[in-house]
Amino acid sequence: MTAEAPAHREEHLPLLDGLRDQYSVHLDKFDGPMDLLLHLIKKNELDICDISIAVITRQYLEFIKLMKVLNLEVAGDFLVMAATLLQIKSRQLLPLDTEDEPEAEEIDPREELVRRLLAYQQYKEAGMVIGARAMLGREVFARTATEPLLAAAQNVEGPLEVSLFELVDAFRALLQRIPAESFHDVAPGDSLSMADCINEILSLLQEQDTVQFDDLVSDEPTRERIIVTFLALLELCRLKLIRIFQGGGHGSIWFIPAVPADTPEVDAP
């Protein structure tokens, strides 16, 4: 299968061939800047702990240039790494200020890069080892047939088995299905929703019997937070889920659940 070639690719074929020979790699194969760096280090037979930043930086930048020539989108992650490499390189060119040395506690970016490369190499290999295992459904198979006996039997009292992601994903799928106006308060954006705030309060009340208004806003005492928290309390009060008290004239506002936590003795829906 052939990837759709940009119209002007033909002109760059000689350049491309040269680079392909030089690196003998497939351009779409790199899983990010760390992968590319690791490849360049191996290609140059360098020791990760003792890389020549000048050589690696030059080759890395050439590679990015090539990606641009080929009209491959160069992701921001690749550019961030390019900046890091250039920073390390320029640092090495500067004479070391001896006066600064005793207090130079900051992390050496080169050391940091080496540490990341070593860690990355480990996980990349771990991924390959995991991927090479005999996999269920690929090399190894379990039984799939159901016995007639079992098809008839019902499970009635078993425990529940469900993941958090399934729950969120069900909600997300539902939102995609229904018209947006039904969900006025879930619109994306950074504003604090009253529903979230109500949830927070309800969850606090599951743990403790009384909650103080100040505790709710102390983490984030912004104007928005205070207003939304107050509206949420009013709503909960309106729903008769909580009762509010105030200590003295300008004392703290306290509230307690109006219904004890372990109620339900109610008519079925």
Partner: protein, 200 residues
């Protein structure tokens, strides 16, 4: 008896979704003789009967299948009746609405889902995932629902604040186009007959 052939036959019959006929087995294993296959099968029947394990190789409806011995069915039904309960999509959706929109009435849940939720709601109440928080102060005084302590326990949440928000899940979709390219499957694996390739 060819021990390798016996093991191959076992693996094929074991993984098949329904009984495999002798004809089908011969067709699948064309490097072996039909007579060889037939005698291996009858030897396998004797072998499993003789070893007295939990299942036998039996010929049913013109095919071969491993079946548990009826004498053990009472143990198997113990498991079936009490095995883990898998959520239906409607139960999951209803639970999700209650979790994210609590306090909420049945009418509000039904408005969002567009279908009656009485049955699902009852199941959720019975499983103690959902609880009645009280009654809403509007005409008809409908019940209002919220999630329970058990809900938090099942999902391993410390509190309702720990529920991932939609925004957090949606944020996973925001990725540079470079990553998306990586996920394209450019060349299907030819060596395997692949039905549903799920490329990751």
């Amino acid at each position: 008896m060819n021990p390798e052939l016996s093991a191959i036959l076992e693996s094929l019959i074991f993984t098949a979704e329904s009984a495999l006929s002798t004809d089908r087995l011969c067709e699948l294993l064309d490097e072996f003789d039909r007579d060889e296959i037939k005698s291996a099968l009858s030897e396998l029947v004797d072998y499993h009967q003789g070893r007295g394990g939990g299942f036998d190789l039996v010929e049913v409806a013109g095919g071969w299948q491993f079946r548990t011995r009826p004498v053990f069915h009472r143990f198997i039904t113990r498991h079936i009746k009490t095995r883990a309960f898998k959520f239906s999509q409607s139960a999951l959706e209803t639970l999700a609405i209650i979790a994210y929109r609590q306090p909420v009435t049945r009418a509000e849940v039904e408005h969002l889902r567009g279908v009656d939720c009485g049955g699902v709601l009852k199941t959720l109440l019975e499983k103690h995932l959902v609880r009645i928080l009280g009654k809403k102060d509007i005409p008809g005084r409908p019940l209002i629902y919220g999630t329970s302590k058990e809900f938090l326990e099942i999902f391993g949440l410390k509190d309702l604040k720990s529920l991932p928000t939609l925004r957090e899940i949606q944020a996973l979709d925001e990725q540079p186009s470079y990553e998306r390219q990586e996920e394209l499957q450019l060349e299907p694996e030819k060596s395997l007959p692949v039905e549903s390739q799920l490329s990751l």
